[in-house]
């Protein structure tokens, strides 16, 4: 499952709905990214590439499903104006065992960071720079 949206989402409700649908899973891992108020940041603006965003995320999910035995996968990513403390995106993975669920969630996060066409800008500030460590993180998979 994959959603790209401007609207906020309720991470807890999403985790519960995801878990309820993941029949047979023994392990559910979720990651939520939140707008941090670093250095006086007031809000974040996220630009994306409609069309490519969806196909890039779908390809990352397909790759995770090929690598690990997963009961289900969920990715939600927002774009547009995001307030301080608001959820930016979330990933959830369900599997029979914890190792697959954890590894797949980390894999999805590493690839979403550097391979999904989103760009963050600090409102009233500059574009967030990609970090070399995020690119390097892909090497382990």
């Amino acid at each position: 499952m994959l959603r790209v949206q401007a609207e906020p989402f309720d991470a807890g409700a999403e985790v519960n709905a995801f878990t309820a649908g993941a029949t047979g899973a023994g392990a559910v891992v979720s990651f939520t990214g939140i707008v941090r108020g670093d250095g006086g940041l007031r809000a974040l603006e996220i630009e994306h590439y409609p069309g490519m965003t969806e196909s890039a995320i779908a390809a990352i999910i397909a790759e995770a499903r090929a690598r690990w035995e997963l009961t289900d996968v969920l990715v939600i990513h927002r774009y547009g104006l995001l307030e301080l403390g608001a959820p930016i995106m979330m990933v959830a993975t369900a599997a029979r065992h914890r190792v697959a669920a954890f590894q797949a969630a980390e894999f999805l996060m590493d690839y979403l960071k550097s391979r999904a066409p989103f760009w963050k800008k600090e409102v009233g500030g500059d574009w967030v720079k990609a970090k070399a460590e995020d690119e390097d993180a892909l090497d382990r998979w």
């Binding site: 590439y49 490519m52 196909s55 979403l112 960071k113 760009w119 963050k120 690119e135």
Partner: protein
């Protein structure tokens, strides 16, 4: 006709999000050379290719990728999702 898309600071430097161009460029690099020759704003946007990424028909690729049959080319900085 090729649709060009610009995102993030590439869009800001060039001053528009998309445009259509008529080009005979064989590769992405040839297309960039044509654009740089056209206007100062493009020269600025494409000054440092190491800080740019390119997608042809919505797939990440390299600057030497061929453009034969392509419909859409997008230029943008390294992605910062997640």
């Amino acid at each position: 006709m090729l649709t060009l898309l610009y995102f993030a600071w590439v869009r800001e430097r060039i001053g528009l999000p998309r445009e259509k161009v008529e080009t005979g460029a064989a590769t992405v690099a040839d297309l960039i050379a044509e654009l740089i020759a056209r206007d100062e704003a493009y020269a600025l946007a494409f000054a440092d290719l190491t800080s740019l990424r390119v997608a042809v028909d919505q797939k990440l690729t390299s600057f030497d990728a061929p453009l034969a049959g392509a419909r859409e080319v997008a230029f943008f900085p390294p992605m910062t999702g997640g």
